[in-house]
Each structure stands twice: as structure tokens, then as C-alpha cells.
Symmetry: C2
Subunit: 192 residues, 2 copies
């Protein structure tokens, strides 16, 4: 998505070898109009699929997921994160390890909000190691629902997230921006 | 907002004396089209004001805030919650006590995203005791910015949140649904 790549070039900040901060428009301060266009782009990319629900993880996934849900005219469910590993009969749960924070969170979705008949589009802000995506897939699998694919705002394609997801059987991943490398503090995008 | 009141009557669940669960359309599963109409309603309610930024708190505030920001055509900033009370030179911070969870979180906004020239609309999903609203006000005050008012999705007007906010100098509060009481497990709305 050209607009997103340009925004990353203009406002993203590369820190160290592999960190991209996009907190001025995506995951702390949010540009709502850009989110809406991204949501429409996700809907267009998956226009060949029947989708009944969008699933994401709090907090950074919520804005793009809600805009995707708006464009697709389906409900959105965001998994809640908890440090507690206690299991509940009322929720589907999965552990998600964060390489950035080096902590494991449990993510949970109330069983009332995923049914075996659901056709689910997963949405997340970043794809790096794929842990959040695998946790969401685990939860949707527990519900017996079907995953039609995953929509990612920014994929770091030099990290193993896509391979990890593919190996777990999540093969349809559409990313709005794919970063091939950081070179001299600059973002280099994949040539599509 | 009639549509919201009807949705609360249809899908809200009253638990005990003072808990209303609206996790089927507001704060776990989200109805994106309803969020968009609520965002437009906030924009209409504050149409007499100049607003340059919407501020909310993760995670439940994000969906209504992003839709308000979309309708107002301004950026949205969501404060991040942290159990850690460490202060940073880079962020404005305030402590927020949750009566529901009986814990204190610090909420933080990076100093780059609030300027003294900002005219801020605060948005939150619930107003009960007003602690989150007061924490956001504290942060906006630290930035030297101006608060034009607060937009609340659901106000429990039998709790002291509005009075507490008024006493702190936050006098303009517009709530889309105002709950006067829970009676026999049913929601009773304020007669506007």
C-alpha cells in the first residue's frame, strides 16, 4: 500500500538493527483516516473470501481491525492480554511470547464470541516472529472456526514470522507494507 | 443516543448491583458500524468546539475514540497502561485507580503527542468513578493543552464520576447513554 510505505518513510523511526517505531500514526498516536483506508484495503484484498468475523489482539491491533470490520460489515473481537496464566472455562486462551518484551502473556477470547461456523480474518499491526498470529490461530482452532487468512499492517519479511505461520498452516497472509531490511537507519521495502 | 440505549437493553447484561457487561458490542466484541455512528455523534455534540486531538486510554476506549477522530478529522492518542510506576522524561504520566480491579495503573502518553496548543477531546467507554477521566485530564494539564470536554459512551449517573470530574474543573461531559439505576437486573436510563 503506497500511502502506508510513504508514511513509514516520512514518520517511522528506525532504532537499532531491527526496531521500527511507528507510534506517531499507528500504535500510540493514530491517524484515523489512514486506518480507514487500510481497513478498506484489507477488505479489498480478501474480497474473494466469505468473512464473518475479524479477530485481533489488544491494543495496537484494535484500530486497523475495527476499520477492517467496518469495511467488511462484520463484528470485531479483540483478544485481551493478561499476565495471569489461569485458565477459565468461559474463554479460549493461548500463550504468546513477546521477543520485544521477553515476557509471555496469555491472550483470551470469551467463548461466546467465536463459533464453529465463523470464517475469521486475523488482523495485527506487526508480523515479526509470528507469535501473536500463532496465538490467535490457536484460539480460533479451539473454537473450531475457520481462518480465511491474516491481514498485517507492517511485515518485517527478514524475520521468520511468515515462515512460522505458514508452517502452522496459516498460508494466506496479506501485508500492507513489507520491510526487507533496515539499511543505515533507512527502511527498505520488498519489491512486490 | 437512542440506538445505543436500545442496544444496551437488548445485549447488555446486568451483573449484581452495579456491573453492566457490554462485551458483546463495545469492549471485547465490537460492532464497528455502531462505533462509527457513535464517533459521528461525539463530533456532532462538540461541533461548537475547535478540537485538534482526541485522547483516550487503551484498550476499550480505542474503538470509539478512533471513530470520533475520523469524524472530527484529527489524530487520536491512546494512553498506555502500565503496572510499573517508573517515571520517564519522555512521557506524561498519571496514576489511575480502578475500583473494579482494585489496582492502580500508571497511564502514559509520549510528550511528542501532546502540545500546549492542542484542544483536546477526551473519550472513554465508561464513566463511573471518574478515575480514568481524571488521569487523562492530569496528563493533558501537564502538557499545558486545553480540554474542550469529555465524550463518554456509557455513564453510570448514580456513581460519582461526573461530580468528581466537575470538581476537578472538567465541566463539559457528553454521554451517549446515561444509566440512572439497575432495577431487578434491568437498566433504567436517565430521562434526558
Amino acid at each position: 500500500m503506497k500511502e502506508l510505505e510513504e508514511r513509514i518513510q516520512a514518520d517511522g523511526r528506525v532504532l537499532g538493527a531491527d526496531i521500527l517505531k511507528v507510534d506517531s500514526f499507528l500504535n500510540h498516536q493514530i491517524d484515523p483516516a489512514l486506518m480507514q483506508r487500510m481497513g478498506q484495503e484489507f477488505a479489498d484484498l480478501f474480497a474473494d473470501q466469505t468473512i464473518t468475523k475479524v479477530v485481533t489482539v489488544e491494543a495496537s491491533g484494535i484500530a486497523p481491525a475495527v476499520m477492517a470490520g467496518l469495511a467488511l460489515n462484520v463484528p470485531v473481537v479483540f483478544a485481551r492480554k493478561s499476565k495471569s496464566r489461569i485458565l477459565s472455562d468461559e474463554a479460549f486462551a493461548a500463550d504468546v511470547y513477546s521477543y520485544t518484551k521477553q515476557t509471555t502473556n496469555q491472550i483470551r477470547i470469551d467463548k461466546r464470541f467465536l463459533a464453529a461456523t465463523d470464517q475469521v480474518l486475523l488482523i495485527d499491526d506487526f508480523l515479526a516472529n509470528g507469535q501473536a498470529l500463532l496465538g490467535m490461530k490457536d484460539i480460533v482452532d479451539q473454537a473450531g472456526a475457520t481462518i480465511v487468512g491474516a491481514g498485517i499492517v507492517i511485515e518485517k519479511s527478514f524475520q521468520p514470522g511468515r515462515d512460522n505461520a505458514n508452517q502452522a498452516g496459516l498460508t494466506r497472509i496479506e501485508s500492507l507494507a513489507k520491510i526487507a531490511a533496515f539499511e543505515d537507519g533507512q527502511v527498505v521495502f520488498d519489491q512486490a
